[in-house]
């Protein structure tokens, strides 16, 4: 039992890695791979719930890999933000694994869908849990390589074109990240994030620190799809299989947002007036361009892709305002958004299987034939737009309230207008896909040819989660509140990672 407790932080990384390796062993047996997909992600979900509870109890869980104590070895750190992100990975991983049973066909399984799927989850969890900046880069690459391969699985023309943009921009972002790490290492002589935070306080050349901060901002901005670096996202997210799209839409850009939250609270909090002012403008422009881009689209998944961008703006807004309430709102928004957005993508996949198209013009009449699906679409759609009593309302409410408190009137106005335009987009989808009559001349293109049964449970489950967060949000609110406290009071994180002795000896040396 104690060995389990010791390894608890590492388990969310180890479980998907093991499941992926086992899927490779059962390369020929697709049934075994499917079973491993569902069981592996279920186990991941259970462990991540345990990790969250344990983190709640102990504030910070720290594991020194290989017994090398920080700052010399690599540490895994679980604070509330990381634990929340890991549990979301568990939820989305499990949902898409079940969904894949119906969505992913033989052909994609033969190209190794399941091993890549697990590798992606391992990379995402590694990025959330690591406390070492270079290790973060490595996990980013693990995640990217898996996502590259998942994106082009199937090899259609649109996928190739989308993948070139996706791969190029993400590699540029990685290289900028690596450059920034190099400069930061030259400046501080350490890679441990807590240690960097301590040592940056002593650096005299604050101009260079801000330059490095900007490099990080651009690099993570590309990964998070923030304005003006988001063009790879709407060019690629609608091309792969829907299960893959949903996983990307839920987790990948949020890894970038998580990295922004981590780095711009823990490491770069010296020059908040400058850096977070830039973040504020990025946030507002991201919200606006995303939602306006969505308004111009008439393809189901492209509309949803543009809405990812506008929602990223809200999260960055929470970080940019930099008050306890705003950070809380940002974390709450991430939590709500991941569940809702993945669910919308899953629904788009089900409508595609039923009607054979993603184009709004060719869709219609689904409310008549599948009223239940219409209802299930309304829940995440209205939640995304921020209507009470769903989770999106509270997420937006907290952030806007935080904006009013610091009198950032422009940001508040943008957030409200974007909420309204989001509602417009969602109603547009509702009207076109569900409400209007089936367009003449375009029948149900084809029968799905296989059972769609396993597409329903994830959609229903995620919709219920959204409602539950809305109606019974107190525990979620408290978790987000705690993570905001931890993010703003960095001394707790630093002490948990480095230990009181080390910090004392550092202070001795300074004297």
């Amino acid at each position: 039992m104690s060995a389990y407790m010791d390894a608890l932080i590492a388990l969310p990384i180890i479980i998907p890695l093991l499941a992926g390796a086992l899927s490779l062993v059962f390369w020929r047996s697709h049934a075994a791979q499917r079973l491993l997909g569902v069981l592996g992600t279920l186990l991941l979900l259970i462990v991540s719930v345990h990790l969250l509870l344990e983190t709640w109890e102990q504030d910070h869980l720290v594991m020194h890999m290989g017994g090398w104590h920080a700052p010399f070895g690599i540490v895994l750190v679980s604070d509330m933000l990381a634990a929340i992100m890991v549990i979301l990975t568990g939820i989305i991983g499990f949902a898409t694994a079940v969904y894949s049973l119906s969505d992913i066909g033989e052909r994609h399984e033969r190209f190794g869908y399941y091993p890549l799927f697990h590798l992606l989850l391992a990379g995402v969890n590694g990025a959330f849990l690591t406390g070492d900046i270079f290790n973060l880069y490595v996990w980013f690459e693990v995640m990217l390589v898996a996502s590259f391969a998942l994106l082009i699985l199937g090899g259609e023309r649109a996928q190739m074109e989308g993948a070139i943009k996706y791969v190029t921009l993400n590699l540029v972002s990685s290289m900028l990240f690596l450059t920034a790490i190099g400069l930061l290492y030259g400046l501080t002589g350490t890679l441990n994030m807590a240690d960097i935070a301590v040592r940056l306080g002593e650096v005299e050349d604050t101009g260079l620190v801000t330059v490095i901060a900007m490099l990080f901002m651009v690099s993570f901005g590309i990964k998070a799809a923030a304005f003006p670096l988001f063009f790879w996202l709407p060019a690629s997210y609608h091309t792969p299989k829907v299960a893959v799209s949903a996983l990307f839409a839920g987790m990948l850009t949020k890894v970038g947002v998580y990295a922004l939250f981590r780095v711009f609270t823990l490491i770069f909090d010296q020059d908040v007036d400058y850096t977070h002012e830039i973040l504020l403008w990025i946030a507002m422009l991201t919200m606006l361009t995303g939602v306006l881009g969505a308004a111009a689209q008439f393809e189901f998944r492209r509309i949803l892709s543009f809405h990812i961008i506008s929602q990223i703006g809200y999260m960055i807004l929470g970080l940019a305002l930099f008050t306890p309430l705003a950070i809380l709102g940002g974390v709450f928004y991430i939590l709500h958004h991941i569940i809702v957005k993945a669910n919308l993508f899953l629904i788009s996949g089900l409508t595609y299987q039923l009607k054979g198209s993603h184009e709004l013009k060719e869709l219609g009449g689904l409310y008549r034939s599948h009223p239940m699906l219409g209802l299930l679409f309304m829940v995440p759609a209205l939640s995304l737009a921020g209507l009470p009593p769903l989770s999106g309302f509270f997420a937006k409410f907290i952030i806007i309230r935080a904006g009013i408190e610091v009198e950032a009137w422009l940001a508040v106005a943008v957030a409200l207008v974007v909420g309204l335009l989001t509602l417009y987009s969602m109603v547009k989808i509702w009207n076109e896909v569900f409400w209007k009559a089936q367009p003449a001349g375009i029948g149900p293109a084809r029968s799905p040819g296989r059972s769609l049964f396993w597409m329903w449970p994830p959609i229903i489950g995620l919709a219920l989660t959204t409602v539950a967060i809305g109606l019974y949000g107190q525990p979620v609110f408290e978790m987000a509140e705690r993570s905001a406290e931890q993010l703003l009071d960095t001394s707790r994180y630093i002490e948990a990672v480095l230990g009181a002795d080390y910090i004392e000896s550092l202070q001795e040396m300074r004297r």
Partner: protein, 115 residues
């Protein structure tokens, strides 16, 4: 020496960006290669250039000589090179497949998924 390295790195970044802004996807990949090398050299230079002083601990001592090279930066570069190699191998295969599917080595022919 640092000055020379700074110019070399700056030139590499400039060349990489120039290559990536061309329309050909082959030149795009060459740009990525140069970019990854430039980033590795940044780490190498930022960690401090030390000449002829390997970080070895001589018998009877507990620490390496004070002005020895930093082994950690080299470990980082080694990791980055390996990752960069893997990713670039993927990128090369990708552009080959894209060339087969699209039938052109031209980014302007690949605008179907743009909006």
């Amino acid at each position: 020496m640092e000055i020379v390295m700074a110019f070399v790195i700056g030139f590499l970044y400039a060349a990489a960006l120039y290559m990536m802004l061309r329309r050909s996807i082959v030149k795009l990949v060459i740009g990525l290669v140069l970019l990854s090398n430039a980033a590795n050299l940044v780490i190498f230079t930022a960690a401090g250039l030390v000449r002829g002083a390997p970080p070895l601990i001589y018998p009877g001592e507990l620490l390496p000589p004070s002005a020895s090279a930093d082994p950690l930066a080299q470990a980082l570069i080694l990791t980055a090179i390996v990752i960069g190699f893997g990713v670039l191998a993927f990128a090369v295969v990708l552009i080959h497949r894209a060339y087969e599917v699209v039938g052109a080595d031209d980014m302007d022919q690949m605008k179907d998924t743009d909006t």
